[in-house]
Amino acid sequence: MHEAPINMLYLRGRLGPEMHPAYWITRMVALSVCLYATGATAQESPAAAPPTSASAVVPPQAQRRVDAIYPPTELAAGREANVALLVTVGRDGAVRDVTVAESGGQLFDESAVVAVKQWTFVPARRGDLAIASRIRVPFRFALPPVAAAPPTAPAPSPEPSQEAAPPPTPDAVAKPEVTSEGNADRAAPPAPTEVEVQGRTRPPSRGTSDYQLEVGGLATVPRQNAAEILKLAPGILLTNEGGEGHAEQVFLRGFDAREGQDIEFSVDGVPINESGNLHGNGYSDTHFIIPELVESLRVVEGPFDPRQGNYAVAGSADYHLGLAERGVTTKFSAGSFGTYRELFTYAPPDGTPGTFAAGELYQTKGFGMNRDGQRGAAMFQYEGQAGDTRYRVAANAYIASFHTAGVLRDDDYRAGRVGFFDTYDPLQGEDSSRYSLSGALETHVGKIAAQNEVFLIIRPLRLRENFTGFLLDVQEPLQNPHDQRGDLIDLNNLGRTLGVRGNARVSEHVLGKLEEIEVGYFARGDFVSSTQQRIEAATGHPYHTDIDLDSTLGDLGLYADANLRFTRWLAFRGGVRGDLFTFSVNNNCAVQSVEHPSPSNPPGDQPCLSQQNFGAFREPNQRVTTVSSAYMPRASLIIGPFWGVSGSVSGGKGVRSIDPIYVTQDAKTPFASISAYEGGLSYQHQISDRVELGVRSALFETTVDRDLIFSQTAGRNVLGGATTRVGSANSARLTGPSYDVATNLTYVKATFADTGLLIPYVPDLVVRGDAAVHGELPWWWAHWDGRAVRASVAVGVTYVGPRPLPYGSRSDTIFTIDNNLTLGWSFAELSLSVQNLLDTEYRLGEFNYASDFHSQSFPTLVPVRHFSAGAPRTFLFSLALNYGASK
């Protein structure tokens, strides 16, 4: 997470006297280029920026202009029109998406669109880096005067009225002097006169492991949810034994980050990590994000940026939302296992990608027993501007309900007692929802840019999991005699989060170099009610309360960050962050056992007792409060680029607050402290105007003084000992006009510091590849009504090496291939996604621990292999229709 939630830059200036002279048939009235920097480059170079602000954006410049054709029928009818197009210019300078912002009528619109799609640009740039942008291109279709004016005299002529100027025939049309292709019947293209740049600045890169991931052409690679976009960053493995809507378990650079507890997640600056969530402090469920709305993602693998706050142990990931496809889009999907999905998006044609509304409904019967699920999500966001202040408001709602198969014992599977996709406990599942509101402001006063954001999140969660079957419900002496009732955990968590964050950045030229200082703050309060009960398998009734907490948690963070350039090739970026954590935890079930119970008033099966030894009364609750603080220096030294190669050295400390259940009165909160160091090289090369290559490689070491280790008996992470991770992360991406290829490989050795033994479950080798090829089909039969059929083929490949498991064993490898084929024409798009193309029977998660599911004649009490099944081959057909935006 960084502390620049909106980070928008607004600047206004002139590009120069580049007025286009061609104005005979048509004339350009004005051109305002509204550049929306999408904040998304696939492999942003961490190189030291030139002596301009790292956030300065240079707009795109038209390189090849093709004139619009004046529609003959309109010309004959003497009609004029104004058409304004919103054009997305890719990092390669190609026109990616065109929407009609201001219609002049169908024929005029089509003519303008056909023309502008043949334009090419020198792409917009931020510093040395090409970035995607969105510009506004107006066309003015005006009738010529009766007597042709000289082509080099484009002075506006009075618009003829029907009376004054009868409609000319095409033959009467004078020819423009300058057009790209010299066609007589073409409208002269406009040229930029005034530029309005609106873009989000990004925090300066922290080195090799600061990944600015643009989804870009890889959007067509099949991904089930927004979390899977994380795979574009090196070293990330996602597993999920919790079901369709359960937060993905994330492995990153040797960390078993569980459901996000070790990664700081945010969406446009709004935190996703749930402080105080009983299932895991920092639990992060990203399913509320509609994948199509993810425009880019910033992943920082390591605590190297002072903007990163709590939970940034393995790193941070900030989703940036945007919708390039304007107008109204409806998408219907149907596929294997009774899966249906409906998606509706709306984006005003003249708005920025940051303005949109979208809704999603999804349901599936699931690929095996007890895997059905339903979910719905709605997301709204509006970006606007008032004077020099930009603002954004966002709201979203998400609800989901699904069942979960959980894990299976390998010995039961091998003995045929259960099937690969079966379940032991059909009561497992989850009911989840999330509602949030946020607003952001950015103002610029002189050399200071200030940003502030406020957010409110309400997050109910009910989760039912059974990892151990009937292992844990032993007959306690206090309890009445009973049969085993089952270990199904029924966890309820209601989190309410209110927070603000902001920063102010001042930029100043010193000795000819732009230096930047930023100070920022982050504050959030979490008010969390959480209970965990055990459910009786036979009746579904709760029979025992494990935990009942009411927690009030506070986190106030302050940071200062400097971006200092010593020379053109040497920059220092870093600062310090301090966080103050407060905990006030009321344990409503503080006493669960008593050594000498009252014989006259035995507690029996009551879990939350109101008596002490020999029946002495006490309230069953206990309140605990404490406070603690952490100071975390972070710095990066960035050298280069030299011939496209940059080097970086980064170091930093991070912190993760602990679960409220571990808080002890007045004891310093034993949060985990992290130290991370890395050195890396990156290579960025613009092979041609439209082809770009980025390669990165980093060596890293991370130590944690108090790590989290998952406990199946507790159903959550529990505190463990100190750990160390050493490894290498490598990635490459090649982007061209019709292809986008990305691959990454991470090798890491994660060990316990005291024994040197491997940390279980953490994959030491993760390889991921994504590739997409797209373009218009060249054949004659693939053109209808003057429009070509678009096609794309995408593939995603995942390989995960054998993961170390407890008790010296290794898991199976995972190798999956996902594919997508898309055909589009005009406003329609048809696609087929196939996940797990080879139909590999693979185990998404494997675990060694003890469980007793009553599958054998005697209690099974020793650790054995368990697994959660990966999905079989799955087909999904989709039809998308877009209205109100031309293609």
Binding site: L758, L805, L861
Partner: protein, 258 residues
């Protein structure tokens, strides 16, 4: 090149270990090592000279623990999840007069972790079931005690006849029936591995140490026949307690397969 090596090592899964390992092993049970299949003769603590002509013990399961457990002890749960490093499931009716290894029907499994104690589960099914008609111990023979001869037989079960009464109403679950079915802690010193065999030796002689045959119930005079009743008191109770003795009756050994 180094990268390729690292990749190859990782792919082969040779990058270290988490310690210990999951193991599967075979398991057998037998009578004492000096048993030959012939009647077993011994003298009890009551001074009875006993000749056992038949002795069978029904084993439900055997567990190995890495720590001296609270499990099974009075006022503690019968099962303490987390301490178990080995398990072998029966059922197995062991001929206690034979020293021949009698294999369990199922392979044992566990972890390569040093075991310090063991548990023997004497049950025909659910260890918590209030009723269990399974004859756990079936013995016959004759005893000479106080100058009298007691041809006897006994069939010991563990069901409601062994249920202890609740003495502290504040702890109604302090004496579950499973306590009567689990022999623990039996001290052991072994580490399960994939190449070994667990040997459980059961010596019936120690079961009779406190049995007073003079209190046995006479079934007939001709032929003279006594029965040790399946009760919680008298010789039946003594034999039951002898069967549950955690020392002298059960011993565990580990043998590595070459």
């Amino acid at each position: 090149m180094r990268f390729v090596i690292v990749l190859a090592i990782a792919a082969m899964g040779c990058g270290g270990t988490t310690g210990s390992s999951l193991v599967e092993f075979s398991a057998v049970a037998s009578g004492p090592s000096d048993a030959t299949g012939a009647p077993l003769q011994f003298t009890t603590g009551f001074g009875a000279d006993v000749t056992l002509t038949s002795a069978h013990l029904h084993l439900g399961a055997v567990y190995l623990n890495q720590s001296v457990p609270a499990s099974g002890a009075a006022s503690e749960p019968c099962v303490s999840p987390g301490i178990y490093v080995g398990q072998v499931f029966g059922p197995l009716d062991v001929d206690l007069l034979s020293s021949v290894a009698q294999p369990f029907p199922n392979a044992g499994e566990g972890t390569e972790t040093k075991a310090k104690t063991a548990e023997v589960w004497l049950t025909g099914g659910d260890v918590n079931a209030s009723q269990d008609p399974t004859v756990i111990l079936n013995v016959a023979g004759s005893a000479d005690q106080g100058g009298h001869s007691f041809p006897f037989s006994a069939a010991i079960t563990i069901g409601a006849n062994r249920q202890l009464q609740v003495t502290n109403p504040g702890m109604p679950g302090a004496s579950p029936i499973c306590h009567q079915r689990i022999v623990t802690p039996i001290l052991v010193d072994l580490t399960p591995s994939n190449r070994g065999t667990l040997l459980v030796q059961i010596d019936p002689r120690a079961m009779f140490n406190a049995v007073d045959f003079s209190l046995a119930t006479k079934l007939s005079d001709t032929p003279l026949e006594y029965q040790i009743l399946d009760t919680s008191a008298g010789p039946g109770g003594a034999l039951f307690k002898g069967m549950l003795s955690n020392s002298g009756v059960y011993s565990f050994a580990w043998s590595e397969t070459p």
